[in-house]
């Protein structure tokens, strides 16, 4: 009975002291669900300040007010600012008589090449001509990996083996794509750690030389606090290392291995919060069909469950 009475502060303006205990619990929950600590802090702080001196209506508990404020905040963060319609963009490029170019980048082993193949499959399902460009010229087996996918999907592959400059292979591939009438060129890149400046420089060069229509950052749903650093560093270095007056940054996020995390879906929040860019695709398995769209509502539900 006592705890019931204390949880109701009706008809009173909320103070920080009222809100903090409930927020603290929700923050721990978000971290348990794999939201990065800094991001969980920031979300909770902003929810806290938005609630302070709000009047609490009769018969609502602080707990439920805080929870619904967090729910709103998470929904706002995860909902894309503008819709991403890749198929429509491809159509526009086609009208301009050129292939649409997507670059896949990210740290090592997150699923770039696999995602690229899934996207290739999805595009062919939409009756588009696809060319895959093998621009990971470093990792053992990277070219053969794409060759298998290209063969399975009956899609042409542009490759020049290993050790060559990725930026110029991409350039040749795009030219080749235009020649064979490809609607889309998908550019695979080598995995690189966000702090590895020489490799980041090479990525910036690839972007500057080829001016892709979309730069997709591929990140895995398994990642913890490093998600924030990966995305902010990729974006920062894409900006800082570029010589262009208006450098190209990450346009969208692919969240992979979503099938391996149960309900610990917090990486989605960390990634979107860090860049403000939408999750364009979600990878939910290892076959070509395992490519999905992000469902904000069910994400938020999983986070607060």
């Amino acid at each position: 009975m006592l705890s019931f009475v204390t949880s109701i502060v009706s008809g009173k303006d909320l103070s920080e002291d009222d809100v903090r205990p409930a927020l603290g619990k929700l923050k721990e929950q978000l971290m348990t669900k794999n939201v990065a600590r800094d991001i969980a802090d920031k979300i909770c702080d902003s929810v806290c300040s938005s609630l302070i001196s709000k009047r609490l209506e009769s018969f609502t508990s602080v707990q439920s007010v805080v929870k619904s404020a967090i729910e709103d905040a998470l929904t706002r963060i995860l909902t894309p600012k503008q819709s991403v319609d890749i198929l429509a963009e491809i159509k526009i490029a086609r009208e301009q008589g050129r292939p649409y170019v997507i670059v896949f980048c990210g740290v090592n082993g997150v699923g770039k090449s696999t995602t690229l193949s899934k996207v290739a499959y999805w595009l062919t399902q939409n009756n588009l001509q696809v060319l895959i460009a093998a621009c990971d010229t470093f990792r053992s087996g990277a070219v053969e990996q794409l060759r298998v996918h290209a063969r399975n999907l009956d899609i042409p592959l542009y490759e020049k083996g290993y050790g060559k400059d990725a930026a110029s292979i991409a350039k040749d591939a795009i030219r080749h794509g235009a020649e064979i009438g490809a609607d889309v060129v998908l550019v695979d890149t080598a995995g690189r750690m966000q702090g590895n400046e020489p490799l980041m420089r090479a990525l910036v060069k690839l972007v500057n030389v080829n001016k892709p229509d979309k730069i997709l950052f591929v990140g895995e749903a398994l990642v913890g606090n490093d998600a924030v650093d990966q995305l902010s560093e990729f974006n920062r270095l894409l900006g800082d290392l570029s010589t262009l007056p208006s450098p190209r940054l990450i346009d969208g996020i692919v969240l992979t291995k979503f099938d391996t995390i149960d309900d610990k879906v917090g990486a989605a929040v960390s990634m979107v919060y860090t860049t403000g860019q939408p999750i364009v695709f979600v990878g939910v398995g290892q076959t070509y069909m395992d490519l999905k769209r992000c469902n904000v509502k069910s994400l938020v539900k999983a986070l607060l469950k």
């Binding site: 348990t32 794999n34 090592n108 470093f138 053992s140 990996q145 298998v148 895995e220 913890g224 990966q230």
Partner: protein, 306 residues
């Protein structure tokens, strides 16, 4: 350095405590709050952080301690012990034996770095004069055999695999049999990536284990993994006899705490860490000196004997 930021935060918190004039419950609470923040930021499992906090509190008894000095030392030692417990399972790693075929099987989540690490592991032992070889039992990942073949060729390590065989169990058996017959001392079996949610993949892993009867199973984990680490690592351990852990990609910015949670889950020691994509970017791991470095302690003898 690995986990450098975590180390800095913890040493900072400890120093702050040392500087405060009186050491009481409140100071300890502050210290633990700060350490917990740092651990959570490093991806240490939320449950583990709570238990570290409780254990340190339990280990420090203010009533029994007279001087401020002994309080400080008691607290520092309790923190050190708890961190060490987190990194050091207490279990002994398998040590390959000369004059026999040691079979080492590598398992882990998709993309964690198994294939790369297999080759580093082979190269490490080969340079120490062992007769080592690699078996590719990954028939799932596109280009898996090419990847292993190219890596092995660079390292000049003999390998076994097939472009046409689709049964990983058969491949593992055939490869191991052939190399055993040829007197290889360390036979490394690379397997496909898998995760606990897909039962068929775990079943396949168990079959490979039963078929080749490995002397050790190495669980390979990416250092950037977050709160899922504990669940996945426990699931692997519950299905096959994981005996060692290798943590990869520590050349990135990842704080590595999620992967450290794997140690608690598998109750197996970390034997090596991966610090780059190149074959020589690989270091043996010693838990105690790791925690010492983590806490910026050159000499911990004072602490440990306190």
């Amino acid at each position: 350095m690995v986990l450098a930021d975590l180390g800095k935060s913890i040493t900072g918190a400890l120093r702050k405590m040392t500087n405060s004039t009186t050491i009481d419950e409140a100071v300890l609470d502050d210290l633990l709050k700060e350490i917990s923040r740092a651990l959570l930021q490093a991806d240490i499992n939320v449950r583990q952080v709570t238990s570290l906090r409780n254990n340190v509190k339990a280990a420090v008894n203010f009533d029994e301690m007279a001087s401020g000095l002994s309080r400080r030392r008691m607290i520092q030692k309790a923190v050190f012990d708890e961190l060490l417990k987190m990194v050091d399972s207490g279990g002994k790693a398998y040590v390959p034996k000369k004059g026999k075929s040691n079979i080492i099987m590598f398992v882990g989540l998709q993309g964690s770095g198994k294939t790369t690490t297999c080759t580093k592991f082979a190269y490490h032992y080969q340079r120490k004069g062992w007769k080592v070889c690699l078996v590719c039992a990954d028939t799932f990942r596109a280009g898996a055999f090419d990847q292993l073949r190219q890596n092995a060729t660079k390292a000049k390590v003999p390998y076994y695999g097939s472009y046409t065989e689709t049964d990983p169990v058969k491949l593992a058996i055939d490869g191991v049999e052939q190399f055993k017959a040829e007197g290889y001392e360390i036979i490394i079996v690379d397997t496909s990536g898998r995760h606990k949610q897909e039962e068929a993949l775990f079943e396949e892993m168990k079959q490979v284990e039963q078929a080749v009867r490995p002397d050790d199973i190495v669980f390979v984990m990416d250092s950037s993994i977050g709160q899922t680490a504990f669940d996945q690592a426990s699931a692997f351990k519950s299905q096959v006899s994981v005996g060692s852990v290798i943590i990869t990609k520590l050349d990135g910015h990842a704080k590595g705490g999620g992967a450290l949670s794997a140690v608690a889950a598998t109750r197996s020691p970390i034997i090596f860490i991966g610090t780059g994509e190149h074959i020589q970017e690989f270091e043996p791991f010693v838990a105690k000196s790791f925690v010492q470095r983590l806490l910026g302690m050159g000499d911990v003898s004072g602490l440990v004997s306190a």
